[in-house]
């Protein structure tokens, strides 16, 4: 394009190059704007601004009609922290976090270690069947399980009833404490395969020589597992912990469709609480204070986790 012709003098060509560079800089600025602006505008408009706004709205009493006018100081938060249903929602959500970390992930990891490598006929078919619930929408999951857990004609009670003589059908989605475990069982059904697939993919990436070398040096199987295999899986394990916690905090659809947070507040979670008390009743100020509380919880966890745990992984890859 701007190749030098033999007849051009040196000063000519120098001037031309400078002009070229200026034009290219302008082009570059234009292109950067074109590439960055649309995405960033969208991100500000629908992620950052809403979050920042809710911080302000949480100090107002606002029923959604007209602009927020009544400055309410911290009354929304005071009310929120006193509300029994909110306590229930908080505890149930924390319960999901604890259960998924202590049951879902170890189970998925153990099974992935067991079947992830070595000879196994039909591996692809098994992987598909384990992963299928993850592909189903949460709505399908919730509807199917509402029927499976039905106290009178649901599959679970019928199976238990045929195995245990004199079994009194349990109302899985009706009794306090039982209901949370039942929902957790459904969540495990849906997400277990997802974690297992992540672990299996990571296990297949561990070079076998490393473990063999340790064995040749006399390491026991337990030592190989603790000192080589699990550390090699470290990044994946740390990532899944992060995903499991965030996933449990944001759980809404399955709970909402199966129980709507009820009966009473037996299965209330933070997600159903925001929807019920913020959106359905158009208490946007109060709802904002719930949202802010959620942000704070998530932010503390995420930043702490990034800082203390995940930072190592990023340094490794750089």
């Amino acid at each position: 394009m701007s190749s030098l012709t033999p007849s051009a003098t040196l000063s000519d060509s120098v001037g031309k190059m400078a002009a070229d560079r200026r034009r290219r800089n302008w082009n570059k600025a234009g292109m950067v704007l074109f590439m960055v602006l649309p995405g960033m505008i969208l991100f500000f408009l629908f992620v950052l601004i809403p979050i920042a706004q809710s911080l302000i709205f949480s100090f107002y009493k606002w029923n959604g009609l007209g602009p927020p006018e009544i400055f309410w100081e911290l009354k929304n938060f005071e009310q929120l922290f006193k509300h029994k249903a909110f306590h229930a929602a908080l505890w149930h959500t924390l319960g999901f976090v604890a259960l998924s970390l202590s049951i879902q992930l170890p189970l998925a990891l153990g099974l992935a270690l067991l079947v992830g490598r070595g000879e196994l006929p039909g591996r692809r078919l098994f992987r598909m069947m384990l992963f299928v619930p993850y592909v189903f929408s949460e709505i399908i999951t919730a509807i199917i399980w509402r029927y499976v857990l039905d106290p009178n004609s649901g599959l679970i009670n019928v199976i238990i009833g045929s195995l245990v003589p004199g079994y009194q059908p349990i109302a899985w989605l009706g009794e306090p404490n039982v209901i949370i475990l039942a929902i957790f069982f459904v969540l495990t059904w849906k997400y277990f395969g997802f974690y297992m697939i992540l672990y299996m993919a990571a296990i297949q990436n561990i070079p076998g020589d490393l473990e063999d070398a340790a064995r040749i040096d006399g390491a026991s199987e337990r030592q190989v597992l603790w000192n080589i295999t699990l550390p090699m899986l470290g990044p994946t394990i740390r990532l899944t912990i992060f995903l499991a916690v965030l996933g449990s905090i944001q759980q809404f659809v399955i709970v909402w469709v199966m129980t709507q947070g009820g009966p009473v507040d037996y299965s209330e979670t933070l997600g159903t609480y925001v929807y019920k008390y913020g959106i359905q009743r158009l208490q946007l100020g109060y709802g904002s204070s719930v949202a802010v509380t959620l942000f704070v919880i998530t932010l503390i966890f995420s930043l702490g986790y990034q800082f203390f745990v995940l930072r190592r992984d990023y340094q490794d890859t750089r």
């Binding site: 082009n27 570059k28 292109m31 950067v32 590439m35 960055v36 995405g39 969208l42 991100f43 629908f46 992620v47 950052l48 809403p50 979050i51 706004q53 809710s54 959604g64 079947v115 000879e119 006929p121 098994f126 598909m128 069947m129 384990l130 992963f131 299928v132 619930p133 592909v135 189903f136 929408s137 509807i143 199917i144 029927y147 499976v148 004609s153 599959l155 019928v158 059904w189 697939i197 992540l198 993919a201 064995r215 040749i216 006399g218 199987e221 190989v224 990532l239 965030l246 905090i249 944001q250 759980q251 809404f252 659809v253 913020g278 904002s288 719930v290 949202a291 942000f295 998530t298 992984d313």
Partner: protein
């Protein structure tokens, strides 16, 4: 030392036999497939049969009318179309905006690049479901209630950080020599992006797109709060409405469920490898 290793056959580490593995896996798969099979069997039997024995073969003949009832229902096809609009909109906008951002963040140096990327990464900490009330307020302020844009734009915005991280990782891994060579051959920056980088990044783009398709197709929460007009409802809301209408007629609802399961499974079969790379690709290398 040597006599310890001789008898240990280091090439066969775990002594778990294939049979044990198979037994464990088959038990697990039965537990996972049980509810799915219940739904399928329930959809081809009468509700009466279903209530009497939830898990059984059809003894009164195949009841395929449940399927024809759903498939000839105008509301179903209307919801189907709405789902398609949301899914295509979310995927197209997400993939194109994310690749532009990822290119700028990985291969062009400009002032404020690091800051902008860090701001965008903040989005990874806030899943959509956590921010749903603030989004609702914003969508109302922008007058997008009962508009498909009120679903598509927030979904795209919340999907951007993840997509950009995956694509940026991939774009960064492409050697600089390739870029230099293309400039020597007279390519512009845009030309390099469009003719060289994007075709090379096809697997990464596919992973991002596949995850967005799943997100858009399955989204329930956002349509629930943004769309009050039933004519605009996508399938996840459509099936809830159907269940409201025929709540006690389980067989019909199960037919609807199975109809929604089929495309999900087919989609998974075709895109399996992209899903797994997409899920692991962002944070993990390799």
């Amino acid at each position: 030392m040597s006599d310890i290793t001789v008898g240990r056959r280091p090439d066969k580490p775990f002594k778990v036999s294939v049979t044990v593995k198979l037994v464990i896996l088959i038990t697990l798969c039965l537990m996972i497939m049980g509810p799915v099979a219940t739904a399928i069997l329930g959809s081809v039997r009468t509700t009466g049969e279903f209530l009497a024995r939830p898990f059984d073969i059809p003894r009164e003949g195949l009841q395929l009318q449940h399927y024809t009832e759903v498939l000839t229902d105008g509301d179903f096809w209307n919801s189907f179309r709405n789902s398609l609009i949301i899914t295509v909109g979310v995927t197209v906008f997400n993939v194109s905006l994310a690749s532009l951002l990822a290119f700028a963040f990985s291969r062009i140096t400009f002032r404020g690049r690091g800051l902008l990327f860090n701001i965008l990464s903040l989005g990874l900490l806030f899943p959509l479901a956590i921010a749903v009330l603030p989004i609702f307020i914003q969508v109302r302020q922008l007058g997008l209630i009962n508009s498909m844009w009120g679903i598509i734009l927030p979904l795209v915005a919340f999907g951007l950080p993840g997509s950009v991280v995956i694509l940026r990782g991939f774009f960064t891994s492409i050697p600089n020599e390739l870029e230099d060579a293309s400039y020597i051959d007279g390519c512009t920056t845009w030309g390099f992006f469009w003719y060289i980088l994007l075709p090379l990044a096809r697997p990464a783009l596919a992973s991002v797109a596949v995850l967005q398709v799943i997100t858009g197709w399955n989204e329930y929460f956002l349509p629930l709060i943004v769309l009050t007009d039933p004519k605009l409802w996508p399938l996840p809301l459509g099936i809830m409405q159907y269940q409201g209408q025929f709540g006690t007629d389980w067989a019909r609802v199960m037919a609807y469920v199975v109809i929604l399961m089929v495309p999900a499974i087919a989609f998974y079969l075709f895109t399996e490898r992209y899903i797994v790379t997409g899920l692991t690709g962002g944070e993990l290398k390799g």
